[in-house]
Amino acid sequence: MTATAPSLDAVIASVSRSKAVRARRRVVVISILAVLIMAVAAISLMIGNTVYSVTDVARVVLGQDVDGASFTVGRLRLPRMVLAIVVGLSFGIAGVTFQTMLRNPLASPDIIGISAGASAAAAFAIVVLGLSGTAVSVFAITAGLLVTLVIYVLSHQAGSAGTRLILIGIGIAAMLEAATQYVLSQAGQWELQAVLRWLTGSLNGASWEQTLPALIALLVLGPVLLSRRHDLDAMRLGEDAASALGVRIERTRLVVVIAAVGLIAFATAATGPIAFVAFLAGPIAARIVGPHGSLLVPAALVGALLVLSGDVVGQNVLNLRYPVGIVTGVLGAPYLVYLIIRTNRSGESL
């Protein structure tokens, strides 16, 4: 076109070179995250009231009998560590799915009322209905799905679904939190303990029975989300552009919302809504991977790392033991404020 038009071969070479550079960055970031998760996981097994050596921990993990360590590491710390990773991955991937689909970092399930719905239902089930255990979880999961349905229906209008959905979600979250507060005011001493776990999110008393449903949900629904990652990525260009690229918007949105809410609900049923993990994982992942390619896997890994290290900090660093949700909440709240200030200033999205 111009006198100095570059040759086709040169441009092809440069296009595939930059593609390779971007791919390499992704691989490096994902590998580093995976190594960090393994390192923190190992630490979480070793330290606590009693500190065990790497060899003791390794022997327990491999199924050998080690005096003392078998119970503490095998029965207490190991399920706790696995549960932390499972819910972290679930919160991370589900959160970034919502944020990507609605092109807004505020669109995370813990901001738009899905987690609040699960908490309110759990509190109601414990205090008013006197339920416990699995029944509470079933209540919480159902409520999470119902709240999503309500938000979805209320905000469903041709065109600008995104912002409406977020605003309606924030309003519903506030209403549900008020309901939870009311139920709390009616709660007796011993119920209060059980309810509080549903409010901040905690890995205390983690057991294999608790971990299994969340793990199965992750193994089933995680691949469903991953199979849609390219469609989700195309939706970042706007729904019209994505549709023109051959993405079936409505179908993708339906499949992805059901899978993401399912993950959130099962993870919340296991540990309570660990504050801000779903909200933080995506933007942190976007910061370190850059704007290229799908964020689902990096955000899932960041989520796992947040929960795992938040719990290690909450259990060991301070002189009191804090539930993991308090640690992640301390991290997340300032970021939320920052994000709102920035969004207001520029009117931008993720």
């Binding site: 111009t2 038009a5 593609k19 041709a158 260009l237 706007g238 549709s243 690229l245």
Partner: protein, 284 residues
């Protein structure tokens, strides 16, 4: 060169919610030509483009591509033949030009077969055609409006479709970039034979670049044909509601519309005859 495809709307009725925007519209696209759709605001021209590319489902009637309803076709298959550049696509923050243009390859990629040599070639060709190859590694948000629009067109080119629809691709561009974008689309049409449909606001640019002009009013096709035959003062009056003169543009040989307003008209009794002392209309 591309193969000729027939894209047709028959008895098309489209609307949002309770309002009907387009009713019983029939349109045959001329294969291998540049069709420009014009009309006043809210006449349904963008809606027509959106429903012809399956962004909007029809209330009744259908859009047919080579004998098949586009609403029944697999989405990716349609997207390999029919491309659309929407009015305001969104560039993810920080994305580079080459990556954005690469997104145009989405319909050519499966879940597991992601990136091939053919994709690299298509992206490189699109960058060269739009003269954006030297911007390839720049972030899209750093570019000027004209450069950015060329990058979006490059993305649509990388999609490698035989039909390309563009919804007001020149909005927000200054005049030199408007001409540049329309020249680029004409190059594409002449070189590759791509069938191009553009919704445009500027009637004179529409007339200049259109092989085939479609004038819409109130959700209907009011007139269509070559600009030379259909652009008359009567058409402009009834479609846009303004009286106008039509002369031959000395630079292009195409018709040129000259709107007649209430001010600055020479043949109404001298320059500014309608102006009162303070520039207000005179009260006769």
């Amino acid at each position: 060169m591309t193969t000729a495809h027939a894209l047709t709307a028959t008895d098309l009725t489209v609307g949002y919610g309770d309002t009907t925007i387009i009713s019983d519209l029939d349109l045959d696209l001329v294969a291998g030509a540049i069709t420009v759709i014009v009309g006043p605001n809210a006449c349904g021209k963008s809606t027509l483009l959106r429903s012809m590319s399956r962004l909007l489902p029809p209330r009744s009637g259908q859009v047919v591509l080579d004998g098949r309803s586009i609403h029944g076709m697999p989405a990716k298959e349609l997207a390999r033949t029919l491309g659309l550049l929407p009015q305001s696509p969104i560039a993810p923050e920080g994305i580079t030009v080459a990556d954005l243009v690469g997104r145009g390859r989405h319909p050519h990629q499966g879940m597991f077969t992601r990136w091939s040599r053919a994709d690299d070639v298509a992206v490189a060709e699109a960058l060269i055609a739009t003269d954006t190859a030297d911007l390839a590694d720049r972030a899209v948000d750093e570019l000027s409006g004209g450069q950015r629009q060329r990058v979006w067109i490059a993305m649509a080119l990388a999609q490698d479709t035989d039909i390309l629809l563009l919804d007001e691709p020149t909005t927000f561009l200054d005049v030199s970039h408007q001409v540049e974008v329309l020249d680029l689309l004409t190059d594409l049409n002449r070189r590759r034979g791509t069938t191009i449909v553009i919704v445009l606001h500027d009637l004179n640019l529409a007339v200049r670049y259109a092989d085939h002009l479609v004038a819409m009013r109130d959700g209907e096709v009011y007139a269509s044909g070559s600009p030379e035959t259909i652009l008359t003062p009567e058409l402009i009056e009834s479609v846009f509601g303004i009286s106008a003169a039509v002369i031959t543009d000395p630079t292009s040989g195409k018709p040129l519309m000259l709107p007649i307003g209430r001010h600055h008209m020479v043949d109404r009794g001298g320059p500014d005859a309608a102006d009162g002392p303070a520039g207000h209309p005179a009260s006769d």
